[in-house]
């Protein structure tokens, strides 16, 4: 075996992404939803790294940097919202905050 085929790396990213997606869809607790989001972002970053190293181009890692920045921003805003949710409803159940229904 000589080197890892790029497909394998991308499949790993897809698996992690799908796991995060599943968690996002079936978890009701906002803290888990945020974690699922982190997993998904991380999977996207992984895909960039895999592609970047596979084609020997530094752009992949540059994009990974942007993804990681995004993840940090998303986590801070998301956690602030979580605190608000808990403060207002005394629960982390996301389904409670459904006042914007049609």
């Amino acid at each position: 075996m000589n080197g890892v085929p790029m497909e394998h790396g991308l499949v790993l990213a897809a698996v992690l992404f799908a796991l995060g997606l599943g968690g996002l869809m079936f978890r009701r607790n906002m803290i888990f939803v945020l974690m699922s989001l982190e997993v998904m972002l991380n999977a996207a970053g992984l895909a960039f790294i895999v592609a970047g190293t596979g084609w020997q181009q530094p752009e992949g890692q540059a994009m990974f940097l942007l993804v990681i920045t995004l993840a940090a921003a998303e986590a801070s805003v998301g956690l602030a919202l979580l605190i608000q949710l808990y403060h207002r409803f005394r629960t982390l159940n996301l389904d409670v905050a459904s006042r914007m229904r049609g």
């Binding site: 996002l24 869809m25 009701r28 996301l94 389904d95 905050a97 459904s98 229904r101 049609g102």
Partner: protein, 631 residues
């Protein structure tokens, strides 16, 4: 250097001319942008002062006019489309100066009176905003040197009339009255617009002076085109001036505050039609049929409105029909070619009718908003000033010989009709004079004499203050022979009437007219004051029918309702549910159904949205995969 100094001099009409409409405009803007923050006193002060300054400007203009003659001033080009370049340009001549004096002078006193009349009312700022806007529009109307600018003012005054009739908007009847006035005058405005189009297509200009100059070259007298143009202009004038058959709005327009009735629906706006015909006299000179029809319409209106005024119980409605009747006189004068006489009567009518309306307003306020003659009476002791106003104004209205302003102008109209050899019009005018005397006496006796017939009248409060007294006194002064001394400088603008050349038989006609007026007054005193038993005839049999007919002003409203409104509504009702509408309605219902379905999906739950989105992504990717597999 000297020239420079003189052009900047304040007495120069060219610099003063724009002030006449800028001052009311500034007043409007101040009031409109104050957002109701101004106090009652501040609003009234701003509203009245702007018109007062405009009146002073007009006085200065009149002095300048006496020295320098007509002025022409182009401010800027309004629109430039090819050769068509109507400007914001003003023309000051004897005719527009006369109108300007009436608008700003009488307008100022009415604004002043309104400060007394409107106290305690809500929305005084709104009232003065509309009033100032009205004066602005009216000044533009008379100063515009082209028909387009005139039309701008024409529509502006119509708008203000609509707004002010519906001033007490909490009652829907007032709104409907404003609506009616707006729609009916709009019919006339369409005619006026069509007339403008016709003149423009044939003569290539809307400048009034150019039209009057070009028209005799383009057409011979009696030419079909010029007759059509004159009829269209006449249609516009009829709508604005409430002449048959477009007159029905004016009586209902009394729903507005009384100063509005005085300013808009008596003194200025309704006479705009007379001004228009006088201004476009060159067209009418070429169209004898249209001119004759003008006179006939005036005669019919004055008779119709005279009879209707006899049977009104609301004092403002009496005055409204009287206004129609007096404008009928003006149209009669126009119809016999005596334009200057019509404008003279317009001026005196503005004085005495404004006086009558303001006196009526004083009575109404003093009697706690009671304006039904049947519930008034015996007021002359308590309200001496309005009583005097009614006496002087009524005398002028009924043309009391020698001492009233109305006598001079009305007698002049009758003389011109005789001189033009229009016996029919003359007889109509004489009968109208008799009617005028009768309804004036009925109005005064019913309101001020006899016994008070309601608590409101018994507890009348005498009006006080400068804003109440000064306008009545000044207008009363102008309604006497003093007003008749003012000779409008019209000789340069308007052609001489048929009666200006000769005076054969003038004195005998004067005697006849004076006898008619005095006879009518004597009859009125006898009928309404001394032998009231006669009036019971109006309660039964044919008398009651006649009363009913006159009370509803010959039933024009009913006729229009049955011939126009109802068929129209029937048509609308028939067309309401046609096939195509059904199609569109089906479409709308479908969309609404879809909307309902889609709004169900908006559960407000983020997880639901995520699942939906993922399902969509999966579907797209899956179909993509299948397509790739297929190739």
């Amino acid at each position: 250097m000297m020239e420079h100094a003189t052009t900047l001099s304040i007495a120069q009409p060219t610099t003063l001319l724009p002030l006449t409409f800028l001052l009311p405009l500034v007043g409007t803007l101040i009031l409109a942008f104050s957002r109701g923050q101004l106090s009652y006193r501040a609003s009234a002060t701003v509203g009245t002062a702007s018109i007062g300054l405009a009146a002073l400007t007009t006085a200065a203009l009149a002095l300048g006019f006496a020295a320098a003659g007509p002025q022409q001033l182009t401010l800027w080009t309004w629109i430039a489309v090819g050769d068509f370049t109507p400007g914001i340009s003003l023309a000051l001549d004897g005719l527009s100066l006369t109108m300007l004096g009436v608008i700003t002078g009488v307008g100022f006193f009415i604004h002043l009176f309104a400060a007394w009349y409107m106290r305690g009312e809500d929305g005084i700022t709104r009232f003065y905003t509309y009033m100032n806007l009205f004066v602005f529009s009216m000044v533009l109307l008379v100063l515009g040197d082209n028909l387009l600018l005139l039309f701008l003012g024409w529509e502006g005054v119509g708008l203000c009339s609509y707004l002010l009739i519906g001033y007490y908007y909490t009652h829907s009847a007032n709104g409907w009255a404003g609506f009616k006035a707006f729609v009916i005058t709009r019919i006339g405005d369409v005619f006026l617009a069509l007339g403008m189009f016709l003149l423009f297509t044939r003569l290539g200009t809307l400048n009034i002076a150019e039209i009057l100059e070009l028209a005799p070259q383009a057409w011979q007298a009696g030419d079909t085109t010029v007759e059509l143009a004159a009829f269209l202009l006449l249609g516009g004038a009829m709508g604005k001036s409430a002449q048959l058959p477009l007159h029905t709005w004016l009586a209902d327009a009394m729903a507005g505050p009384t100063p509005v009735s005085a300013l808009i629906h008596a003194a200025t706006m309704v006479t705009a039609g007379v001004y228009l015909i006088a201004r476009m006299h060159g067209i009418f000179e070429l169209a004898p049929t249209a001119l004759y029809v003008t006179g006939v319409i005036g005669a019919l209106t004055l008779l119709m409105a005279g009879f209707a005024a006899l049977a009104q119980t609301d004092i403002k409605r009496v005055l409204a029909y009287s206004t129609m009747s007096q404008i009928g006189y003006m149209f009669l004068a126009l119809g016999v070619g005596a334009y200057d006489t019509a404008i003279f009567h317009l001026m005196t009518h503005a004085f005495f009718k404004a006086l009558l309306f303001l006196s009526a307003g004083a009575v109404i306020i003093s009697c706690h908003h009671e304006q039904d003659m049947r519930r008034l009476g015996g007021l002359w002791r308590k309200l001496p000033l309005p009583y005097a106003g009614f006496m002087v104004g009524g005398a002028a209205l009924a043309a009391l010989p020698l001492i009233s302003a109305g006598f001079y102008s009305k007698d002049e109209i009758l003389w011109q009709a005789l001189a033009a050899d229009q016996q029919g019009l003359l007889i109509a005018g004489l009968v109208g004079a008799l009617l005028t005397s009768l309804y004036t006496l009925r109005l005064i006796i019913g309101t001020f004499h006899g016994t008070a017939k309601s608590d409101n009248a018994r507890h009348a409060e005498t009006g006080r203050g400068l804003a109440h007294g000064l306008p009545l006194v000044v207008l009363a002064g102008l309604s006497t022979f003093v007003g008749a001394w003012i000779t409008p400088p019209l000789a340069e603008v308007l052609p001489a009437g048929p009666g200006d050349a000769t005076h054969v038989g003038h004195s005998s006609l004067e005697l006849l007219a004076a006898a008619t007026a005095l006879g009518g007054m004597a009859l009125g005193v006898w009928l309404f004051g001394l032998r009231r038993g006669w009036l019971r005839l109006a309660n039964r049999g044919p008398g009651a029918g006649l009363w009913h007919l006159w009370h509803h002003a010959w039933g024009f409203d009913l006729v229009f309702d049955w011939t126009l409104v109802r068929p129209y509504r029937l048509t609308v009702w028939l067309l309401k549910s046609d096939l195509f509408d059904g199609l569109f309605r089906l479409l709308a219902r479908l969309v609404r159904l879809l909307h309902l379905g889609l709004s169900r999906t908006q559960s407000g739950r983020v997880r639901g949205y995520a699942i939906t989105m993922v399902a969509g992504v999966a579907l797209i990717l899956l179909s993509l995969a299948l397509v790739i597999q297929g190739t």
